[in-house]
Point group: C2
Chain length 339, copies 2
């Protein structure tokens, strides 16, 4: 691609900042060639994913540059973890606004370096362009998994238990916290939630451990109910989950305790980046051991059933439905039409 | 990543339009999973590249959607060709403006399909988001090459001949043609050039043929002199080329004949997507045969020399230099400072 000619200094700076991030990966060719080389070990499948983020949509304009970079890395690694893959490398395509500053770029590269080191991966290629629009980032992530063992969305079977890692609702509540919309919440909860929104914790340690135990897996990025719906469609099954079985952080539990309508946000809010997976009941003991070994809580929230669709049950095992005003108890639905 | 919630219909349409483009590649998982799977054949290296394009910078807002898609594919395949790799698959990250229409998206998908079929590759994954800014596209392309044989920028040696494929200057002159700035040129030349700008011809057939013959290679995307400079730096060598040896299409030859200052554009203009490579003189006969076999003209334009930097010689073998007003004859330089 043609280099952008209107800000050569910044593009030189970017090259200088990014080149060290390829260290330790000879196939990156120092980020000075047209492409990168990768030689997957025999017996492994490569797992490939790409995610884009746009300023003002996927992150806030005021979010610190280092956290933007780290979030970009982490949402991609979450996809790899959901397939049971070990991350190997990433490539970055970045469209920077004309007014991006050197200080911003340095902080962005710092964040990138921090997480590449944290997850033992390298930046092996990319493209930098200029844009008159908002900062737009796209990261391609490469992982590997033993051939034929990747966890897919399509493997769920009726009778499987449905599990989630960690806690749900932190991402969606965290967005509101980061926007300053949680004025009534306790300050330590606001801080915890905003941090969870800005810096997801991809379950890279957990994902590979689930290979051989889980039938199907994905990460929760669009919201539990939507994502479980995707998994059910891919597997041609249905799902039944208990709303009160969904694991909550203390911060979100406090929000729900104060206002039950937060439960809708927990069930449908995005940005959680936890793993959602199904496994046969006989794997329960193995999963409990994996939770202990990885330090990641694993919670059964329901079952895979024949049929299609996701049914959410309340504490009395009565189906809830999502109306225009959010989730409500099915029996309280004024219109009475079934989900 | 969270789905964009403000235009669900368009995102459903995109999913419907793109899913068929993954046909024939089981690892794409029908574009319905978090990631794609790829199992490179034993003995092969994977070659990975990414390029981003922004509306108004890398293509014109009025460019037909199908041509935008095809250009995106082609600039990436050009990078793979330059490494000697055979293309296998692509992943697309797209940030669509809010006002994108269904008709535009259909035409975009049509163009994508056309070129995926033309180059026998599949769309194996991607991410679609919404943007308040200009259309921003990023494509990751995957190719393969026999292990250890990829053509790098860093392999040039003093004594190598420098070659280019096809003709140079068509991309830069084509941009002006597409912008309606070539009013004096012959209509058939304007049409030819605008087409070359909008629809590059990546040398995917030629690139793999050069493996084992070329010492170093890259594609000409930033402009011949700049790109040859990159190659020289990567190889720690210098280069000497003859301006009058650079191959021109009839359309660009006519421009240069009418106005010699077009030569600067030929030497430094971008968007050519031809291959630039070096090979020892004893490979000349083999390269002539490759040109005949692939139907792609190959022209020797100079030599790799010890030292550093790119020297451009005029018809009298006198060095030219690039001044603020473009390339000029070194001997005519008013300031007299050497390059």
């Amino acid at each position: 691609m043609p280099a952008v000619s209107d800000s050569p200094d910044e593009f030189r700076l970017i090259a200088d900042l990014f080149a060290p991030l390829s260290r330790g990966y000879p196939g990156a060719l120092g980020l000075t060639d047209d492409a990168a080389l990768m030689r997957p070990p025999p017996g492994m499948d490569m797992v490939l994913t790409v995610d884009a983020m746009v300023e003002g949509i996927h992150f806030l304009p005021d979010d610190p540059a280092d956290l933007v970079a780290r979030k970009l890395v982490r949402v991609n690694l979450s996809d790899l973890a959901a397939k049971g893959a070990v991350p190997v490398a990433v490539m970055l395509a970045a469209a920077f606004p004309h007014n991006v500053t050197g200080a911003w770029l340095r902080r962005f590269a710092d964040g990138l370096r921090l997480d590449l080191e944290a997850f033992s991966i390298a930046l092996i290629g990319g493209d930098t362009v200029s844009t008159p629009g908002p900062l737009t980032l796209s990261l391609t992530a490469f992982g590997q998994v033993a051939a034929g063992t990747a966890l897919l969305r399509s493997g769920a079977r009726a009778g499987d238990r449905i599990w989630v890692s960690g806690s749900l609702g932190d991402g969606a509540a965290g967005l509101r916290a980061a926007q300053g919309l949680l004025g009534d919440a306790r300050p330590e909860h606001v801080g915890y939630l905003a941090d969870r929104y800005r810096l997801p914790r991809p379950r890279t340690g957990l994902g590979p451990e689930l290979v051989g135990h889980a039938h199907a897996a994905m990460d929760v990025s669009d919201g539990l109910v939507q994502d479980l719906g995707h998994l059910c469609r891919a597997s041609a099954v249905g799902a039944e989950i208990r709303a009160d079985g969904v694991p909550l952080s203390p911060a979100v539990a406090a929000l729900v305790a104060a206002d039950q309508s937060w439960l809708a946000t927990v069930l449908t809010g995005g940005d959680d980046y936890e793993l959602l997976f199904t496994a046969p009941p006989e794997e329960t003991e193995a999963l409990i051991q994996i939770a202990a070994r990885t330090g990641v809580a694993l919670t059964p929230i329901g079952s895979v059933v024949p049929g299609s669709g996701v049914t959410v049950l309340d504490a009395d095992a009565v189906p809830m439905r999502l109306g225009p005003a959010g989730w409500r108890h099915f029996r309280q639905s004024p219109s009475g039409d079934a989900t």
